[in-house]
């Protein structure tokens, strides 16, 4: 039986029946108060990048635009994550209320849920909830509408600016930043785009106040987080845990006793070897040192039967396919990394070639246009550096 170091929480998935009251109460408050609550709560985006949600709403509120938009990012394309699907199935109203309050704060009247193409089966149910939600909005006299936009299956379309491009009917290619979405997002108008889970959390903050949320987690990583646990674990699934947890404790709770590595944050995240479990915290503790790892929620456990070469090979194949292809470092760099580790493995290139590839990965990190190309180095370098022998022999 797995140990229980970590407290299981039930904030997100708890079905609350007071949505109407919470919404009515919250949108009567001043924008400033709502933003303050979010800032005090310490909520950071759960889509991966961890941008402070209160600040995002504040900036979009201050931007000028004829129209403003609120978009819920439900593209959930990272391999090994399925938490947003679960949230939208179980507690969609929380997400919608989060969107409505955001609309109030920034002055938007139109919202969208960008739903991953593969989640089409959620559509009917979601549209029914949205109908109810519109009735509720009419009742309290708040002018806001939400539409579902069905994505077409490219991983890159989860990146916010590629998502806007795709909604505008263009090819899903990330844009240059700045400008950021809060200044120029969907249709070049100020836009707040938040992950499904982020929006669901705002609901809890509105209901229970910012302090209750802040009491969970540790400094810089507040609240709870929904994790998708997979790989070599006897208990795969979705778990809501306190943020800022130690990886050691996590592995004790969820591993099969033989974990040699955990991939935190999916293909674009970091691989932590066993010897570093004890030093690693899951969250945003200060600067990213490799000892504090953010994650969109994917936790993949590998035991000693796994070849880390194969793991990396899989990730690289994924990136070679899913790169949008527009920028050089990512389009060509991913191919070079993949072919490079193959060549070393086959003995066609010397093991020192891995050093050249590590430099290449680092250059990709600092030059690629969007998060996809920038983060290939995360898994590449952490796997190659920690499991070098497995790459060569």
């Amino acid at each position: 039986m797995p140990k229980k170091n970590l407290k299981r929480l039930d904030l997100i998935f708890k079905n609350e029946l007071d949505g109407e009251q919470i919404l009515e109460k919250t949108i009567k408050r001043s924008k400033q108060d709502i933003i303050n609550d979010l800032i005090i709560s310490g909520l950071k985006g759960r889509g991966g990048a961890g941008y402070p949600t209160g600040l995002k709403w504040k900036l979009a509120g201050e931007s000028e635009g004829d129209m403003k938009y609120v978009i819920c990012n439900a593209d959930e394309g990272e391999p090994g994550t399925f938490k947003d699907r679960e949230i939208l199935t179980q507690v969609p109203m929380k997400v919608l209320i989060g969107m409505a309050v955001c609309a109030k704060v920034i002055g938007a009247h139109q919202g969208f849920i960008y739903l991953r193409g593969e989640y089409k089966f959620l559509l009917d149910n979601l549209n029914e909830v949205i109908d109810d939600f519109h009735v509720l909005l009419n009742k309290i006299g708040f002018d806001f509408r939400v539409k579902v936009f069905l994505g077409s299956g490219a991983y890159i379309c989860g990146e916010e600016s590629a998502l806007f491009e795709s909604m505008e009917g263009h090819r899903g290619e990330p844009r240059n930043k700045p400008p950021y979405p809060t200044q120029s997002g969907y249709r070049k108008m100020p836009t707040v785009i938040n992950n499904v889970e982020t929006l669901a959390h705002t609901y809890s903050i509105f209901k229970y106040g910012p302090d209750k949320f802040k009491d969970l987690g540790v400094q810089d990583s507040r609240g709870s987080k929904v994790f998708s646990v997979s790989g070599d674990t006897p208990t795969p699934g979705i778990y809501e845990l306190e943020f800022g947890m130690s990886l050691q404790k996590f592995v004790e709770d969820f591993g099969d006793g033989d974990a040699k590595a955990v991939q935190v944050g999916g293909a674009s995240g970091f691989c932590v070897p066993r010897k570093k479990f004890g030093r690693t915290v899951i969250g945003y503790q200060g600067k990213l040192t490799g000892e504090s790892l953010p994650t969109g929620g994917s936790m993949m456990i590998f035991n000693s039967s796994r070849s880390m070469y194969n793991v990396l090979h899989n990730y690289l194949e994924f990136f070679v396919e899913e790169s949008c292809g527009q920028c050089t470092p990512c389009r060509v760099g991913t191919q070079q990394l993949l072919l490079g580790i193959e060549a070393v493995k086959r003995g066609e290139r010397p093991s020192e070639y891995l050093d050249k590839l590590l430099k290449l990965a680092e250059n990709m990190r600092v030059t690629a246009k969007c998060g996809l190309g920038q983060s290939v180095a995360n898994s590449f370098s952490s796997i190659v550096e920690n499991f070098k022998e497995e790459m060569i022999y």
Binding site: R171, V320, S323, T328, V332, G333, Q336, N363, K369
Partner: protein, 595 residues
């Protein structure tokens, strides 16, 4: 405009807000390498070669896509920057069929230049080329597209979309398969492509190039049986120098003529002559249409009439507005008028059998190559124009021949069909055809000079996207009495994106013009796809100035006063729109698919 202060390479600089880091650096004469950036196009930020370091920030910034911000501290040449740039260039080369010694762009290629600057060595990455399949499309008479040389900078895509609003090229697939493709990856000559060459002019590598006819021309020159006639378009003389080491904006007519003789052309003649002829034919056609509409009230007369001298525009309207083909003047382009006359009138004059004549043209344009190959362009009984060279190809031939262009003494065109007027010269600039036509038409109708100071019709000049001008006709000659008091309304557009704006209004019946000038390329022919690279706003402006300078300096500035034009009507054509004209100087158009 508010100012932004920043520090680049430890030096303080102040730039207008909205400037990019690249622009700020340029102001300080710091050159940052670029590939996807082009002044004429929107920012792409996809090649990642222009990266710079912002002190205190971890990731590098693309200088072409990042606005300068107050207090920024930028390093353009730190080790981190150099490593990153070199890495990007290495990656591009690894994906590239780099065989420079056999490449048309050898010596003028931006990727090659950067590889040499950054000393890209052999020890680098895995060669990806053998692992991929590439398409090379060499079926078009104008443009060759070789995907194995493409660095996916999307300059071509943006040129076709933003300047021309056509979208003949777009990005297809993602990841490693991402490529630049035409509609359904069909050959360029089968899709809605106007052959304008704006994409070719902006492609940094050998992936999009003009189909060159240099060797064919050399063979013809060296064939003792053949009499080589060459014509040079108005816009070539003000740009050729750039491709031979001169500053933009220099007029090199005399040197060009001298060089062409040295290359071995037997008759060096001027497209400007047939440009003057175009004005006579097209001007009379306009007056005839006005008469048909105003006097005869003939419902079949189509107005507004549009110009027809830009073959990119012709192909465009054939695809996009076939219902308006009746509005296009039936007058051929100056190139094709010239070709038809060369193998008839001129051949006869110099006693050469037309089958022994090879007619070559030098054009600022890649679409002219397609035009010369249209099946209907055989009015002389032969192919009217055999071979079309761009300005760039002529420059290359001059280099091949070892001619020191700068040292050449000026020479004059041969006569006949070598004389021209200022009106013909300005054909090379947007608004030029309109101005030339108005100078003539107004005088034909009233017997007086067009009422603009010094014949300079300023409202149709300049780089504004769509220009309008009107002239009220007063006290016409008796034959034109029906035009008394008529306000002649004209419109000028350059670049097909602007043409579309005008034509959409024509379709909706919202454009009450009589005459519309359209040039497919931005700035007119002086910005043509066959002109020296680079071509950009600043350079187009310099070329424009040179053109109007040449016009102002010409002794004759009205097409109908060209003595050789007067003579050809006396001796051969008899009268404008006459029987001979119809046979040789007018054409018809073909409806084409919209996709």
């Amino acid at each position: 405009m508010s100012k932004i202060n920043l520090v680049i390479d430890h030096i303080q600089v102040s730039v207008e807000s909205g400037s990019t880091i690249l622009e700020a650096a340029k102001k300080m004469n710091i050159k940052i390498p670029t590939l996807c950036h082009h002044e004429d196009l929107c920012v792409a930020g996809n090649c990642r070669v222009c990266m710079v370091e912002q002190v205190g920030s971890d990731r590098l910034l693309p200088s072409c896509a990042t606005p300068a911000a107050e207090g920024m501290e930028i390093l353009t040449n730190s080790l981190k920057v150099r490593n990153a740039r070199k890495s990007v260039i290495e990656l591009l080369v690894s994906e590239h069929r780099a065989e420079c010694t056999r490449c048309y762009k050898n010596g003028t290629c931006e990727l090659q230049h950067l590889s040499s600057e950054y000393l890209i060595g052999e020890d680098s990455l895995i060669d990806l080329v053998p692992l991929k399949e590439f398409t090379i499309d060499y079926f078009s008479p104008s443009i060759i597209k070789d995907d194995s040389k493409c660095i996916r900078c999307q300059r071509c895509v943006r040129s076709c979309d933003q300047l021309q609003n056509i979208g003949a090229l777009s990005v297809a697939y993602k990841g490693q398969k991402m490529k630049i493709a035409s509609f359904f990856e069909k050959p360029m000559y089968e899709v809605v492509c106007t052959n304008c060459g704006q994409c070719v002019n902006r492609c940094p590598t050998g992936a999009l190039i003009e189909r060159n006819y240099i060797d064919e021309v050399w063979s013809a020159i060296n064939d003792p049986q053949k009499h080589l006639v060459v014509q040079t378009a108005p816009a070539v003389r003000i740009a050729l120098g750039e491709a031979l080491g001169m500053e933009p904006g220099k007029i090199v007519t005399g040197k060009m003529v001298a060089a062409l003789r040295r290359l071995g052309f037997d008759s060096v003649l001027d497209t400007d002559f047939s440009a003057d002829l175009t004005i006579i034919e097209e001007g009379n056609e306009l007056l005839q249409r006005l008469k048909g509409a105003l006097v005869d009230k003939d419902p079949n007369v189509k107005l507004p009439m549009t110009t027809s001298c830009s073959p990119g525009w012709i192909k465009y309207i054939e695809h996009m507005y076939p219902q308006l083909l009746g509005n296009v003047s039936t007058a051929k382009s100056p190139q094709q008028m010239f070709g038809a006359l060369a193998k008839t009138y001129y051949a006869n004059k110099i006693n050469v059998e037309p089958e022994n004549m090879v007619s070559v043209s030098v054009m600022p344009c890649t679409a002219k190559k397609y035009e010369a190959n249209r099946p209907e362009m055989h009015s002389s009984g032969y192919k009217d124009v055999d071979l079309v060279l761009t300005t760039r190809e002529l420059a290359r031939m001059i280099q091949q021949a070892g001619i020191d262009f700068l040292a050449l003494e000026n020479e004059e065109y041969d006569s006949i069909m070598g004389m021209s007027t200022g009106a013909a010269v300005i054909f090379g600039a947007t608004g030029g055809v309109m101005e030339a036509a108005l100078r003539t038409a107004y005088e034909v109708v009233t017997g007086r000079d067009v009422p603009f100071d010094g014949l300079n019709i300023l409202p149709v000049r300049g780089m504004e996207e769509v220009k309008e001008a009107s002239i009220k006709i007063e006290n016409p000659l008796p034959a034109w009495a029906f035009l008394d008091g008529v306000e002649l309304k004209t419109c000028v557009a350059h670049g097909l994106a602007n043409a579309k704006k005008v034509m959409d209004r024509v379709v909706k019946g919202e454009a009450n013009y009589h005459f519309i000038e359209i040039m497919a390329c931005p700035g007119g022919c002086l910005g043509g796809g066959g002109q020296p690279i680079p071509t950009n706003k600043e350079i187009r402006e310099k070329r424009t100035r040179a053109i109007y300078e040449e016009d102002a300096g010409k002794p004759i500035r009205k097409s109908h006063e060209n003595p050789e034009v007067i003579k050809i009507y006396d001796e051969f054509l008899v009268k404008p729109l006459g029987h001979k004209s119809h046979e040789l100087l007018h054409t018809s158009y073909t409806e084409r698919n919209r996709y």
